[in-house]
Symmetry: C2
Subunit: 750 residues, 2 copies
Amino acid sequence: MSSAPLRLYWEIGHLRPGQQEPASWHPANVPGCAQQDVGTAEGLPDFRVGKNVTLWASLESSSFVYRARFSRPELPDGTQLFFHSDGIDYEAMLAVNGVRLARHVGPYSPIDLDLTPHLAAQNELRIEIAPVPRRAGFPPDRTQASDVFKPAVNYGWDFQPRLIPSGMWRAARLEKRAERRLDAAELRYELSADLRSARLRCLVSGAKLAGRRVRLSLLGPQGREAGVWESVLTADTADVPLGTLENVALWWPRHHGTPALYSWTLSLLADDGSEQDRREGQVGFRRVRLLMNEGSWKEPSGFPKSRSTAPIQFEINGRRIFVKGSNWVPPEVFSGSIGSARYTELIERALGANLDLLRVWGGGGPAHDAFYGECDRQGVLVWQEFPLACNLYPDSPDYLSVLVPEARAIVLGLRRHPCVAVWCGGNELFNSWSGMNDQALPLRALNAICLELDPATPFLATSPLEGMGHGYYRFLNPDTGEDVFRLMANVRATAYAEFGVPGPSPIHVLRSVLPEAELWPPRPGTAWETHAAFNSWTPDTWLDLPVIERYFGSSAHLEELIERGQLLQAEGLKCVYEEARRQKPHCSLAMNWCLADPWPCAANCSIIAYPNEPKPAYFAVAAACRPVLASARLEKFAWTAGELFCAELWLLNDRAADADAGIAAGLVHAWLETQSGRIELLRWSFPEAPANNNIAGPVARALLPESAGGRFTLHVSVEGRPEWNSVYTLLCRAPEDKGSKVVSTPALNQ
Amino acid sequence: MSSAPLRLYWEIGHLRPGQQEPASWHPANVPGCAQQDVGTAEGLPDFRVGKNVTLWASLESSSFVYRARFSRPELPDGTQLFFHSDGIDYEAMLAVNGVRLARHVGPYSPIDLDLTPHLAAQNELRIEIAPVPRRAGFPPDRTQASDVFKPAVNYGWDFQPRLIPSGMWRAARLEKRAERRLDAAELRYELSADLRSARLRCLVSGAKLAGRRVRLSLLGPQGREAGVWESVLTADTADVPLGTLENVALWWPRHHGTPALYSWTLSLLADDGSEQDRREGQVGFRRVRLLMNEGSWKEPSGFPKSRSTAPIQFEINGRRIFVKGSNWVPPEVFSGSIGSARYTELIERALGANLDLLRVWGGGGPAHDAFYGECDRQGVLVWQEFPLACNLYPDSPDYLSVLVPEARAIVLGLRRHPCVAVWCGGNELFNSWSGMNDQALPLRALNAICLELDPATPFLATSPLEGMGHGYYRFLNPDTGEDVFRLMANVRATAYAEFGVPGPSPIHVLRSVLPEAELWPPRPGTAWETHAAFNSWTPDTWLDLPVIERYFGSSAHLEELIERGQLLQAEGLKCVYEEARRQKPHCSLAMNWCLADPWPCAANCSIIAYPNEPKPAYFAVAAACRPVLASARLEKFAWTAGELFCAELWLLNDRAADADAGIAAGLVHAWLETQSGRIELLRWSFPEAPANNNIAGPVARALLPESAGGRFTLHVSVEGRPEWNSVYTLLCRAPEDKGSKVVSTPALNQ
């Protein structure tokens, strides 16, 4: 093959402001991160521990130099030697043997340089990385990222320390390229309206290809040959119609079917029919549409009449699905050193929590290709945002001159992944804290780029759009006094694209990063604050001591505090997912903020602590997102002894895939377990119901006895279907006054 | 010059289904309309009279043939003969001397054919027009236009009869073109941030231009030379940077400044410096932005949080203006025969009514170029919609393959007009009766086209967007029982982009088109219904007899009915414009539906009856849109004798242009004139106020005497500024019961 990669051995040096040459060279990881390699080599302590991260700020004004030395390889006649990088973050000057070949700006677009004319027997590749970009005149926060096409999260967020990476964050290599060769090939398809067949074509580019024959071989999901097509190329860059694949096995998200992937090989054939070069890849056939949510056309009613809400009902392969997802942030601060193992373990967690979709949040920007490959294989949908978040990105020609090629590179790189189900301009851009709107040229350009390069995949200008909601992010809203149960009962969104409840990390995570002396009690100003427990989104988040204390009183020790905070998180998230599902079909999506921590947060809305430690909320989410479950709508978390307890009973069913996706008639049994014993509520004989339909049941009611103080649990069990059972932990407090009381009604529907 | 046009003499023939050659030929108007020429020649009666329009339906399935015969003109060496048409509606086959040269679909893109190789001594150009497109499987209404890029209004609307035109609706000519020539030139500019200078460049195309020098001469608004720049072309198609114009005189909408236009001449120079060819044009320098409306970032409040509203605050040349506009529909059914005189007289009317902007509604599609030239000269802003309205235009490749080149032609044709202040995808597309949404590929494509070709002009996907409102369209809403006063008091939109109140046409218009026998009383099923008085939007609109009767009882004769209906229209529209202005700055725009009738409507929301007959509402709108006026917020139209009358007094001021645009302190005097005499209300000493600011005054209150039955008027007069005075006509009805009454309070602020 023509482009066999030649591995390079990289070194890195550190240029403080004014320096021309580094004082010393260190081994460099490529892919990796300049700050990580240099900081570590120069003795900076682990930024994840204590307040060490502040020491790493000194690297912000530094430049870095990568170098790799290599001997001229043997190059047969007409063969060229290329340097190829999948991406360099953020501004780089590339030179070989002292000759400057290119200046490159932006982390996502590949770099491809012909070194052949510059080669000597011994060669040095040198890549200078400019200091990380920081918009002049802005404070040291995310707004310094507001004119660059680079994740804003690294400039400091409410869960992540400021530590701005740069460098050779993606793979790089030398490639020998034959005179006649395939440089790239991409299989594209158009599904028929009935989704049974796919018209195939291949985008091919290379050199000296005109008049040459290519052959596409397609293997089906089980490795069986699915088809072979041949065509003659008319130019070096060609869009080659191939033929039609019949009886397509569709790619489905895991909880709705099989994520069927085909493998293809495009071979460049010599005159004698032998293979001269090849490109390989995978393809998954799926159709994604965003439809109007049920009932949305009826609104607005009355005059003057505005527009209806934006569509956010996912339809995959013709089937409307309720999306249960989670927000994804890069799982490491040094995003260049995220290996595929990190992706695999966290994607497995998402599947384990019955989640269908990961929203690759704009604050973090696109992941490495391995992430998408794993999502393809595992059948996880991806909501892919461009790296814009919570900033007013400008209409300026300078910014657009980077945005356009970088965004094109993202779409060209990722559109081949069937998992990528929706493009989105970025996070919360049409809100006051960003200040962008429908007229913003960056978002109009992203829309146009996606339309041109991937028209079959929906595009959202930002999230949220009208009808959708972001937040709330605490168990209790101190402004309104509402807990999450009451909040959710009063709202009606088409999609809850972000919501969170914070919870502390497990104690072993805390012990590994907080100094022993600061562990108890948690206080602002300590490493707790560095690790996002205090003064993050608001002064009290994310540890949220006031809310924990409001419900439980003061905690005796750290373990107790953690248990209480984690309980609130678990019950709170369960409430939101289940209430969103009860609002189906008007509501079609629920995604918690966020799946996993990028570093050891002491507390955060994540359900997985760093690096891969599920909190109790993780298992609560997994329970709330089971395809079928018994569920209770509760009006609040904290009840009062002597009060009439109420719980609306439901059966939730998102299954639609199989013939047996409906619910057969059966019996639900509900009771309370209190400190003073069991209280029977009711038995509900529920009817059968078709696939993908919830069943609203009776309202269970019972007087909470005076002696029921402390926690109690509501049990909703389904006879013969223990896997559908649900349990809710609630609080019963002593009554504050002794006025007249309601007498318990007999349990209904028994 | 190279492209001197040679006039052609056209004939037209009628092909009924199955015919190959017309039975006879008639003189054809080019520009014109096939149906009009043929229908008239074949004796169809005036469609504007009675129910005659139904007779014209027979032409829907016909094809038409245009032909023009001409002798081969003298063509010097290298000179070519082109046929050029500015647009043919809708599907055409073009042939010369029996040789088919092109098939063309879509009315807006020009057609340019080199005839030279096909010329004989005597020649015949032949253009066959296919039957008007009607989407198969749809009823005979606007939905038959839902897969064509052609105005839907002609397929039948609630104010316009179904009569679908086609043919050579735009100019066509033969052009001799020299071997070396300019084909087109367009002056483009970028204004500096301070709006003081403009960087000029010229887009040039032609033949044999490489290496040739061009000279741009610019004359300022007073005809003085503003600059001369020269450049050497490097190719036949070039984007030529010229230089910077300093001290730019900006183009302003008429009520805010001077619509300064510059004239330019681009000359192609021979080696000796003499002029070999030229192109001329005009340019107006302006910056238009849509900003967020005041207060919009504060909403939504609470969680889950959705997006803020879409920006619709017009900023012209750095100045926020409250837009008082009107909706524009084509002023003739046969749009090919609209001459510039029709545009001029109606644009003058718009200026006379103190309107700043015309919304060229998507149902009617773009006007002829003369419309925009007149708006440029007169200083009228244009909101330009693409021809999509109230339909679900499909994502299909067939539709997009027409939409893309046609939309590009529209933008390329109109972007040079400074009056074009905003592009819009079309009318009410994000509402249930259309069924499109943000994912619709046609609207994403229009956004991308406008971004590419005219990025400095804002783009709206449709109207209304979130925050904006369309409707209501009657004086009283029978569903809610609210009159327009109460409705407006309860709503709060960023922009009232459409609202209407119907009114009958003047009696001489009615007499000219309704049979004498049907004139009185108006009845459904008669020519009144044909002319939109009944069963239009709803069964009772647009004559709206039930509402007229509700307020005034039965009318004795036609004149009385007309007077009453016209009074409701006038007072209703005044209310909406003035209330929208009182809601400034959160509200930034008000546009009534619609300016003028396209044919003799018996009743309609228009304020100008066909062809150019102002209704009383026209003068009411003119009064409500005065830059400065005294205004009253009234809670209702119909009061009851013995009731406490209230009126909030205001001074409204949209002036911002001049140093003296504020309001100096002064005195308002308010009183009622009733059937039983004058009732003094109050005198209000109002303070001075800065430019572009309203002043809220006191609430005038007075008991309406028992004897005040019938109409009464509220007078709000400004001492020494009679041009700011306002009068409101209201109704006082006999009380229905005789319970306890409020005693009149003394007038406030006297």
